[in-house]
Amino acid sequence: MTLSLFDQFSSPSFLGIPMILMALALPWLLIPTPTSRWLSNRVVSLQGWFIARFTNQLFLPLNVGGHKWAPLLASLMMFLLTLNMLGLMPYIFTPTTQLSLNLGLAVPLWLATVLIGMRNQPTHALGHFLPEGTPTALIPILIIMQTISLFIRPLALGVRLTANLTAGHLLIHLISSAVFVLMPMMPVVAILTAVLLLLLTMLEVAVAMIQAYVFILLLSLYLQENV
């Protein structure tokens, strides 16, 4: 094997153009812009239904002050969902497996929620460092722990998406190469492995959707603490 397992994640470059630019710029052709006509096509209707229901569910627990984040978070959901799902197609590079991209999305959004909290309601935002009813002896250590957990949030947000997608792609790669290797020697085992591959692919489709959702959900929870 000339390619190592992890080479599928290295950002390719073709004719001097980094392919991550193409992988980021082109998928939006799949999301049509709705017109102001009354009747739209099925894709637009489905996406409109999804955006409306998703935004409704996401912003139900938030204060009205946080509702102005709805366009941003709904757009981010479409962004991550499209990239994650397209990445499961063979030969399509997945930009969301890149740690730099995920951290680049996570850090500014997390920082925005924290800054909003510190700017608008500093007492309330700082109050999250100490849960009510803490024994006095635990207060210093708890504040240190809460501070660490606050600052580790963007890291966890970015690494979670990277790790989940990387693990899924690696498993698909490993099991599909196992199918190829086993086919001439043990056809029955190979077919069983192929069934496993099918199930795993279905799981990865679910993971691609769930991880996009988790990213947005955690951001909305951070926002909830700060608005």
């Binding site: 290295s10 630019l21 017109t35 757009s75 730099s100 991209l101 680049g104 990277t162």
Partner: protein, 55 residues
């Protein structure tokens, strides 16, 4: 592991946010959600009938 390599991180960062902020919000915001039609009221509306007394 190449996916952990932050090599052109600033280019990726700027390009991601540029795409994310210029292309997606107009598409998401262009969706319109008309209100559900409300059912007709049960009570009959009180109207002041005006007839033509000179006929």
């Amino acid at each position: 592991m190449p996916q952990l390599n932050p090599a052109p991180w600033f280019m990726i960062f700027m390009f991601t946010w540029a795409i994310f902020l210029t292309i997606l919000p107009p598409k998401v915001m262009a969706h319109t959600f008309p209100n559900e039609p409300s059912p007709q009221g049960m009570t009959t509306p009180k109207t002041a009938p005006w007839n033509w007394p000179w006929h």
